[in-house]
């Protein structure tokens, strides 16, 4: 049988949270009352800006958004990542997400999560749901402290497609036999890259594209 993979976007596809929820958790667990208040208020104040950037360009959104992590320590982020799984992500996993992953596993697919979120936030979820690999953004740390910059290339949009292609080449997987799952039109490039794209809980634009290109549409909610 040809080696193949199933690539899953995470936020909105497998879980109902997004990277803003994730950051809010970190902000709320800053460690000191002033830290919590400062970061939470700062994050709240910037919500309109985040929303506008996300609407205009996901890449700009990611770059700007991850600046908020500057100054947080790496070990703290990793520990909080584990706690966040229990507190935030696990309850937010869509009821049928595990079934979909299991079905791909039975079909002989390698399970790969591909997300614009930060790796330390996704790794525990990947372990829980049984993913073999995670392709995610990596925060730059200097002296164990986050700089707020993400190591390029930022995993989003077209870069997700490049990352999938590179991953398939590296692991000897057939791109045209592989699957990709996403909820967002911003992942069109990633979906178009594989032979078997599927829209999951799609937004209006992706649903329309999926119907036009005869892609299956799933609802995991």
């Amino acid at each position: 049988m040809t080696a193949k993979a199933a690539f899953y976007d995470v936020d909105g596809t497998l879980v109902r949270t997004n990277i803003v929820h994730t950051y809010a958790y970190y902000a709320m667990n800053r460690g000191s009352l002033s830290g919590i208040a400062g970061r939470t208020l700062a994050a709240a104040a910037q919500v309109p800006l985040y929303a506008a950037l996300d609407l205009i360009n996901r890449k700009w959104f990611n770059e700007y958004f991850y600046r908020a992590y500057a100054g947080l320590s790496e070990d703290r982020l990793v520990v909080l990542g584990q706690e966040m799984l229990e507190d935030v992500l696990k309850p937010a996993v869509f009821p049928k997400a595990q079934d979909l992953i299991d079905e791909a596993r039975r079909a002989g697919c390698r399970i790969v999560f591909i997300t614009g979120a930060l790796d330390f936030t996704v790794a525990p979820l990947a372990e829980l749901l049984g993913a073999d690999d995670v392709i995610a953004n990596k925060m730059q740390f200097v002296g164990g402290i986050a700089t707020g910059k993400v190591i390029p290339p930022i995993i989003e949009g077209a870069n997700k497609a490049h990352a999938i292609r590179d991953y398939c080449v590296k692991h000897g997987l057939a791109l045209d036999q592989s699957f990709a799952y996403s909820d967002s039109f911003s992942d069109y490039a990633m979906l178009a890259m594989v032979g078997r794209p599927t829209a999951v809980n799609p937004d209006v634009r992706l649903r329309s594209i999926a119907r036009a290109y005869h892609w299956p549409v799933l609802d995991l909610r």
């Binding site: 049928k96 079934d99 299956p216």
Partner: protein
């Protein structure tokens, strides 16, 4: 006016075959959600279904009698022990067509059987809809099928759809002597007694096919749902001449060795239409002025509606079927009696084959209840079901022409038929060869996790199902020289199916005559109501 003697020769009410002469009325022919009204060339044979047989006067009494006098088994009450584990499997929404007026025959049977089980101290009872690789029925459809009382008492924990892809929900029994995989729903396999409640609309259904197909999985179905088996079946509507049934029987016999199976088979008459649409079950010669008025009214209404609304309207008209026979007991002995009743209703003797055969393709098939008759289903209706509705000898001559009346619109239901869309748009442009399709693509579609997920959690047909639809047409494809779709609204759908198209039926007949000669014999089969031709050569 023609003399009475001529009229009697041309038509009498017990004759299912009428020859078109000057003055014969135009024929009402299904064309998807619409109707054609067509004058046919002189000499065209028109084959009609038999009149509906009288239903049993008291269905509940007939069911009780069958349960107490089963074929080849003890009466049902004698098989029951307090505390035993019983599973009742039911045919799914693909039967009957259109769905019957409530109470559905399955509800009538269940009300009696469940009462008997309760009286015998049997509480561990599950109801499973034997969907095989068909779509899951919706809650509303399930409720309609068994009635509110049973639905509320059993759903969802003890009344649910079969899941052929549940890794923990299937068990594999020993293979048949021919190496066919025998897989069965775990709950059914581990029960002390399996009761199968069936509806027999055509002779293809029932018997070993009920359990061996309805509660099995892809691995088991592959044994007979393949192009070779279909090619080896003279007609899969005639079990004695069908390799499909021989394979299904072998699988069923293995199941019967492992499990006590009690069948309850009901046979319906062909009363598909009544009331405002009752004229559709009549010969045009029998139309009253009121019937003609009703037809024109229906046609006018349909002409003013968008297709979605037409479909909704047509799907909302249930069929007033009557139960004409109830048989119970061991698989083969029970089914033999069922088939006898089927033949009485459906078999129509016809003398000789035709060069050209015309069928109207209606809006509904077993696979699109409450959905769209997409191009693959038009194909399966024409070259699969309608072509095979014979007793081993096709109505159309080898190399002859089939004319199908249907708009052949390029519409698919993404909820019910997602894998059909890919099959039609990706595979058919590459090849129409069923053997190549099976070898190269069937497994890929069957294991596609998106399609598996949509089958298990949505209401989609399994990823392998469009292949079965294509295989179902294999006999017809091998046999006929040409298929013409009269009234096709586009070029690409007929072309992808390997067919030709015309705007009108008259043009289609001209085109067919071009291939078969001006003296070609023509037969129109007026179906629905369903009939099965018994061609005498």
């Amino acid at each position: 006016m023609r003399p009475l003697k001529t009229l009697k020769r041309l038509y009498d009410e017990n004759n299912q075959v009428v020859v078109t002469e000057k003055g014969s009325p135009p024929r009402v022919i299904f064309s998807g959600e619409d109707f054609l009204l067509e004058d046919l060339p002189l000499g065209t044979r028109v084959v009609f279904a038999r009149s509906p047989l009288q239903g049993v006067p008291n269905p509940k009494a007939a069911i009780r009698w069958a349960l107490n006098h089963p074929e080849g088994m003890d009466p049902l009450h004698a098989l029951l022990r307090p505390g035993m584990k019983v599973t009742i499997a039911l045919d799914d929404i693909s039967l009957p067509l259109p769905p019957m007026v409530t109470p559905d025959a399955r509800q009538t049977v269940l009300e009696i059987v469940l009462e008997l089980l309760a009286d015998s101290g049997v509480d561990d009872v599950h109801l499973i809809v034997a969907t095989a690789l068909h779509r899951r029925m919706t809650d509303a459809e399930m409720k309609r099928m068994v009635g509110e009382k049973i639905f509320n008492a059993f759903h969802p924990d003890r009344y649910y759809n079969h899941d052929a892809e549940d890794p923990d929900g299937m068990v594999e029994l020993e293979h048949t002597a021919q190496g066919e995989v025998v897989a069965l729903n775990r709950r059914a396999a581990e029960s002390d007694l399996l009761i199968y409640v069936n509806i027999n609309l055509v002779p293809m259904d029932g018997g070993h096919k009920s359990v061996g197909t309805g509660l099995s999985n892809y691995a088991s179905l592959r044994a007979h749902h393949n192009p070779k088996t279909i090619r080896d079946s003279e007609s899969y509507m005639e079990p004695s001449k069908s390799a499909l049934h021989r394979s299904s029987d072998r699988i069923g016999r293995v199941i019967d060795q492992h499990l006590k199976v009690f069948h309850i088979e009901t046979v319906l008459n062909n009363r598909m239409f009544d009331g405002p649409t009752g004229f559709l079950g009549k010969r045009e010669e029998d139309f009253t002025e009121m019937d003609r008025l009703k037809f024109q009214g229906l046609r006018y209404t349909l002409s003013k509606l968008p297709r979605v609304a037409k479909r909704k309207l047509m799907m909302s008209i249930p069929a007033p079927y009557d139960i004409i026979a109830v048989n119970a007991g061991a698989t083969e002995a029970c089914h033999e009696k069922t088939l006898e009743a089927c033949w009485r209703q459906y078999s129509v003797p016809v003398q000789g084959q035709s060069d050209i055969v015309i069928w109207g393709v209606p809006y509904i098939s077993p696979y699109n209840v409450n959905s769209i008759l997409n191009p693959l289903l038009v194909q399966v209706m024409g070259l699969g079901y309608l072509f095979n509705l014979n007793r081993g000898t096709p109505l159309v001559k080898k190399g002859g022409v089939i004319i199908l009346c249907h708009p052949a619109y390029d519409e698919f239901d993404p909820e019910h038929h997602p894998s059909y869309i890919e099959f039609f748009n990706r595979l058919l442009p590459e090849t129409r060869d069923a053997m190549v399709l099976e070898h190269k693509y069937e497994q890929e579609f069957a294991t596609n996790p998106s399609y598996v997920h949509l089958y298990r959690k949505g209401n989609a047909y399994h990823g392998a199902h469009p292949f079965y639809m294509w295989y179902w047409g294999e006999n017809g494809r091998q046999h006929v020289g040409k298929v013409i779709v009269a009234g096709a609204e586009n070029n690409h759908v007929p072309e992808l199916l390997g067919w030709e198209r015309t705007d009108t039926l008259a043009e289609a007949i001209d085109l067919a005559r071009g291939a078969t000669g001006r003296s070609a014999s023509i037969t129109l089969v007026k179906s629905a109501p369903i009939l099965q031709t018994d061609v005498r050569l």
